[in-house]
């Protein structure tokens, strides 16, 4: 093999001269982290809401949440992203659609990816939250209601505090998935981490260095999230349950 390694490539300036290639990687990392954290917040809020709806004693509401989950789980993420990015602006009322299409492309890409990833992950979060609520003994709900709590109060003070602590480990893996799935945003042109690696290959032809660096950055994200969540899991673990003391 006649590949010439050149790790110094990261320190050399980019063609525009404003930054180094390392600077590009860091910029990509920032987009990946911003996108993933933003999408995770949407997913947590929307997913918890849907997860609660799945368990309320109303056929209509739980059916609605079930339909949401099935739709977002059974269409590939890439297709969903393209629908958010290419299809949605066309289907909105003409004025709003035009306004979106005339905005800055980077903003369009970012918000399409943010909403897509948020709604996609919400379906998964919903299933975890539902499983958490259903894993609680039936008596908890009955006891809450018997004490005179309204249904929202029962969820707020009795069911959810327990359910969230129980589903924290599976939520951790969903959180990790958000970071990995954010790489799909590269397909609509958002210059996040994996797109940045391709750009580095195009500009420098040092493909192995670029890919190794980006792969290591993803591993680093993974390890950081895992350690942070493990610390959180230790703090919130429920005594008497599996993993508890």
């Amino acid at each position: 093999m006649s590949y010439s390694w050149n790790w110094d490539i990261f320190l050399s300036p980019t063609p525009s001269g404003e930054s180094t290639y390392l600077g590009w990687l860091i910029e990509g990392l920032q987009w990946t982290v911003t996108l993933s954290l933003g999408a995770w917040i949407i997913a947590l809020i929307l997913g918890s809401l849907l997860g609660v709806l799945r368990t309320v004693p109303s056929r209509w509401l739980s059916g609605l949440a079930a339909v949401y989950v099935e739709i977002f789980r059974n269409v590939p993420l890439l297709v969903q992203l393209f629908i958010w990015y290419f299809v949605l602006p066309e289907l909105l009322p003409a004025g709003l659609g035009e306004a979106i299409k005339q905005s800055d492309p980077m903003t369009q890409q970012f918000f399409a990816a943010l909403l897509c990833l948020g709604c996609f992950t919400a379906a998964r979060v919903c299933e975890q939250v539902r499983a958490g609520i259903q894993s609680l003994p039936r008596g908890q709900r009955s006891a809450g209601l018997a004490l005179g709590f309204t249904l929202p109060q029962t969820y707020r003070y009795v069911l959810l505090p327990m359910a969230f602590r129980i589903v924290l480990p599976p939520l951790t893996s969903e959180f990790l998935n958000v970071f990995k799935n954010s790489a799909v945003a590269s397909t609509i042109g958002l210059i996040e981490l994996s797109r940045q690696s391709q750009q580095l290959v195009d500009y420098t032809a040092q493909a192995y260095e670029a890919f190794i660096a980006v792969t290591l950055l993803y591993v680093l994200i993974n390890v950081t999230v895992m350690l942070a969540m493990r610390a959180l899991e230790r703090r919130t673990r429920v005594p008497g349950y599996i993993g508890g003391k």
Binding site: F82, V87, F179, K180, V184, V214
Partner: protein, 225 residues
């Protein structure tokens, strides 16, 4: 308001069918290789021999830490170089396909390995002890006693993973391979009917995956004892 025009879809069906074949080919290869290689990885991880455990755990954790998009790009970089250097094969037209097949097979193995490891661990320890007491060797105990029971428990999870894999194959878009989604995108772009083609592709994926997941649920009910 947007005026829908679905007329370009009937004419595009042959192209889309070709794309679907590519999708299914990648899915099927990844499932087969993934289960075989994944079983070996899982057994290595449970073997108790430090170098084997370490290697298998490293493989599984590395693949699970990296986005599939990066894995596909990695193999599109490595596979052509290997083919030309080691096997002397020229830069053929199906190089994308070979790269995608290798990438998906090795990537999915990591996920299958974890499912299979959990499945093997779910078999009661007494089963292994009983097999040893009957004079079986380790490979015999695994092949004749543990794995058949483990796979029975794992069937729903393995199938669910296959559905996820089927959806994930759409990511070969990043190396420009025309699978079902890639074909739909190309046709939509060519005819200026991207909106309709994307919605159509989404609907097809939904019907197939939702149908398959209903079947898995049925199966799960029948397998549950």
């Amino acid at each position: 308001m947007y005026e829908f025009d679905w007329t370009s879809i009937p004419g595009a069906l042959p192209i889309l069918a070709d794309g679907m074949l590519v999708t299914l080919e990648i899915t099927a290869t990844a499932i087969l290789v993934g289960i075989v290689w994944g079983t070996l990885l899982a057994l290595a991880r449970l073997s108790g021999s430090p170098p084997l455990v370490w290697l298998a755990a490293g493989y599984v954790n590395l693949f699970r830490a990296v986005p599939l998009v990066m894995v596909i790009l990695w193999f599109y970089l490595i596979v052509p170089a290997m083919l030309t250097n080691w096997l002397g094969v020229g830069q053929g037209s199906d190089i994308r396909m070979i790269s995608a097949l290798v990438a998906f097979a090795l990537f999915e193995s990591a996920y299958y390995a974890e499912i299979i490891r959990a499945g093997v661990q779910s078999v009661p320890k007494g089963q292994v002890n009983a097999a040893y007491a009957l004079g079986m060797t380790y490979p015999q105990a695994m092949r004749l006693v543990v794995l058949p029971q483990a796979f029975r428990n794992m069937v729903p999870l393995l199938l669910t993973q296959a559905i996820i894999l089927f959806q994930d194959t759409s990511l070969v878009y990043v190396i420009g391979l025309a699978d079902f989604f890639g074909s739909a995108y190309k046709v939509g772009d060519r005819d200026g009917r991207l909106v309709e083609m994307l919605l159509f592709a989404g609907a097809v994926y939904f019907v197939l995956c939702f149908g398959a997941s209903l079947l898995v649920r049925q199966l799960q009910k029948r397998f549950a004892t």
